[in-house]
């Protein structure tokens, strides 16, 4: 097993410049500056580094979409980690901020960007503080700013943070927010900000973990990275395993070859003692749920996709047999309803409807027709209820709300029916003060 990005997590004060330099830090930047930008871009392409934010698009290919000569290019770092169940980018920012800064520098150097913006989630005060300290030290030492290490490479990294909005994790929403607006995703096409992004200019938006891999790739070669893992999922990845396990934690494992069973049992210590697995979410709240039969699937993009879900942001949430599937589903739907930006009707209205229907089911006011109604609303948000989901919205938030509902209905329909069977007679439900005893 190789450790690429988490090597300094447990070092004493591993976030300081001194500790970073002592453990090989900023050597990759020096090497890159010797080799030239084209060479570095090729190296990253050879690594087949998939984006670690959620969509999983190859970083090298994304860089290749920049239209030649249409300067300036900007780089925007997506540190707005907010997908329920996800906890890894914050760890990278808090525990190894210089690794990320070095990754950003390598990216800017390779693509030809003269300014970068590091967008950190607003709620992450410690990450902001560590990054501010790290950037200050890196500026003082000549790693960032004008004439980096006395070369003609100059770039500013501006530390910026948000103010609480899940939707800003979507890359065009992130750009809107960085422009000082409400963080609502932009109409597509263009599909990639590489064509039209920040201030209308070509922009690369990369996730924190994605960029944190770059120093290793430069030092060890793209091929060495591609040799780890499987065909379509190379290198390593951080997975946060949470919920009903004995050792919840963030684990770096070989991408593509490790299985869910190894992740949950060997790393996270298995389902909590005395309990059995009911189901698990394989990639954040937006991902359809998996069951026992999926445990031996590899953490590989194609494999997980064919089985009807996704690895998303590397968040595995384990639920044991004590879990109320209807309430778990409601909790996730409430998240999407709260976080819908309101731009597209199917998402704005649909997520609200789903929440209302689930709410009344849980509160004992459900109607027998509610289950069909849930399916109907889901179908209106994402026609055909297929995987990958069809879209009626300009970003995936709407279809994401469909995942927990359809998962719970497909696998645990009986629990919904139990709630509805126990519900009060519909003609009386919701009328305050009226209670009628019905004799047998």
């Amino acid at each position: 097993m190789t450790t690429i990005v988490s090597g300094r997590f447990d070092l004493d004060e591993g976030w300081t410049l001194a500790k970073y330099e002592e453990t090989g830090g900023y050597q990759a930047l020096r090497a890159a500056l010797d080799r030239g930008p084209g060479d570095i871009a090729e190296e990253v392409k050879a690594a087949s580094l998939l984006g670690r934010g959620g969509a999983g698009f190859p970083a090298g290919t994304k860089w290749g979409f920049l239209p030649p000569g249409k300067h300036p290019y900007y780089v925007v770092v997506n540190g707005d980690e907010s997908e329920p169940g996800t906890y890894k980018d914050r760890m990278l920012m808090e525990r190894d901020p210089h690794q990320l800064i070095e990754g950003i520098l390598i990216c800017c150097y390779a693509v030809g960007a003269r300014q970068a913006f590091l967008y950190v989630r607003g709620e992450m005060a410690l990450a902001q503080e560590r990054l501010a300290g790290a950037l200050n030290d890196a500026y003082d030492k000549g790693y960032v700013g004008r004439s980096i290490l006395d070369t003609d490479f100059s770039v500013d990294i501006v530390l910026h943070w948000g103010a609480g909005a899940y939707i800003v994790g979507e890359e065009t929403g992130l750009i809107e927010s960085l422009e000082g607006r409400r963080g609502m995703p932009r109409l597509k096409p263009p599909y990639f900000p590489a064509a039209i992004g920040l201030y209308g200019q070509p922009t690369i938006v990369n996730n924190v973990e994605t960029l944190a891999n770059l120093p290793w790739i430069v030092m060890n070669g793209g091929q060495a990275f591609a040799d780890i893992g499987a065909e379509t999922s190379r290198g390593t990845r951080l997975f946060a395993v949470s919920g009903h396990v004995n050792r919840p934690g963030v684990y770096e494992v070989d991408f593509g070859t490790t299985t869910y069973r190894q992740l949950i049992d060997d790393h996270a210590g298995g389902v909590r003692d005395g309990h059995q697995l009911k189901c698990f979410i394989p990639g954040g709240a937006s991902a359809p749920w998996f069951l026992d039969e999926h445990l031996d699937l590899a953490l590989e993009t194609g494999v997980v996709g064919e089985a009807g879900s996704m690895m998303g942001s590397g968040a595995v949430v384990v639920m044991d047999e004590t879990t109320d599937a209807v309430r778990a589903c409601l909790r996730m739907v409430r998240f999407f309803a709260d976080e819908s930006c309101g731009k597209c009707t199917p998402c704005r209205e649909g997520t609200g409807w789903l929440e209302k229907i689930l709410d009344r089911i849980v509160e004992g006011r459900g109607r027998p027709s509610d289950l069909d109604l849930l399916v109907d609303v889901c179908d209106n948000i994402s026609p055909g209820l297929a995987w990958p989901p069809r879209m009626t919205t300009i970003c995936p938030l709407g279809p994401s709300a469909v995942s927990p509902v359809m998962s719970a209905l497909r696998h645990f329909r009986g629990e919904f029916e139990d709630y509805i069977d126990r519900a009060e007679p519909p003609e009386l439900a919701g009328m305050p003060g009226v209670r009628v005893e019905i004799s047998a």
Binding site: G36, P37, G38, G69, K70, H71, P72, Y74, S82, E83, G85, T86, Y87, D89, Y109, G112, R114, G122, E123, M124, A125, Q128, E129, L131, A132, G133, Y139, G142, G145, R146, D152, S154, V155, D156, H160, W161, G162, A163, G164, A165, Y166, S177, E179, G180, R181, R182, G183, Y199, Q201, V241, S242, G243, H244, P248, V250, V317, R327, A328, R331, F335
Partner: protein, 198 residues
């Protein structure tokens, strides 16, 4: 409440300079106002509009989109209890109920003495440490009801002021961009080839 104090106006001007387009400094400036007053007052928003050459409505339009900006005064300590999926499975809702009971307020409200505001929040990225909460955006992990009661005592007594600054203060280290080290903001109409590109 107040417009930005002179030292914050200086900070604001320095922040604005970092961006190619001034409006990008809007969220950072709103944070600065919240750091100054604990919330974002209408006067502060008008002042920010002047500094960025926007209308006050544009400033309110952006501010009102984001959960963290409080457009009304809140408690000195904002306690955010997570109840999202990983916390939902491991005692988050029970922790929230406990918090409501001991503080004597419902989620979303502020105690009459203005010390605590309680909120149940969406996932705060500490899922492996559930159930978790934040006080003024400082984390507490695997929180039991007893831990919660002790936390309130510590906050009331001022014992952990070094750990938990007043609401509105996020990073306590500010990014410095010394003039002699800065590469400078790149305006969108500056089409120059980067010097290091072949």
């Amino acid at each position: 409440m107040a417009r930005l104090a002179p030292e914050n106006v200086d900070r604001a001007r320095e922040v604005i300079e970092r961006y190619p387009v001034a409006r990008s400094a809007l969220i950072p400036l709103l944070h600065l106002a919240q750091e100054q007053d604990g919330w974002v007052s209408p006067e502060a928003m008008e002042h920010i509009a002047e500094l960025l050459d926007l209308t006050p409505a544009e400033v309110v339009g952006t501010a009102s989109f984001y959960h963290m900006f409080k457009l009304e005064p809140v408690g000195r300590f904002v306690v955010n209890v997570c109840t999202d999926i990983s916390c939902h499975l491991t005692g988050g809702p029970e922790l929230l109920e406990h918090a409501e009971r001991v503080l004597g307020i419902r989620s979303g409200a502020t105690t009459p003495d203005g010390t605590f505001t309680l909120e149940d929040v969406e996932c705060i990225a500490a899922c492996t440490e559930a159930p978790c909460l934040q006080v003024n955006y400082r984390y507490r992990y695997r929180v039991t009801p007893d831990d919660f009661d002790r936390l309130l005592d510590d906050l009331r007594s001022g014992r952990i002021e070094h750990e938990v600054p007043p609401h509105g203060v996020l990073a306590r280290i500010r990014q410095r961009m010394p003039a002699e080290r800065r590469a400078g903001a790149v305006p969108p109409d500056d089409g120059a080839e980067p010097a290091w590109m072949p």
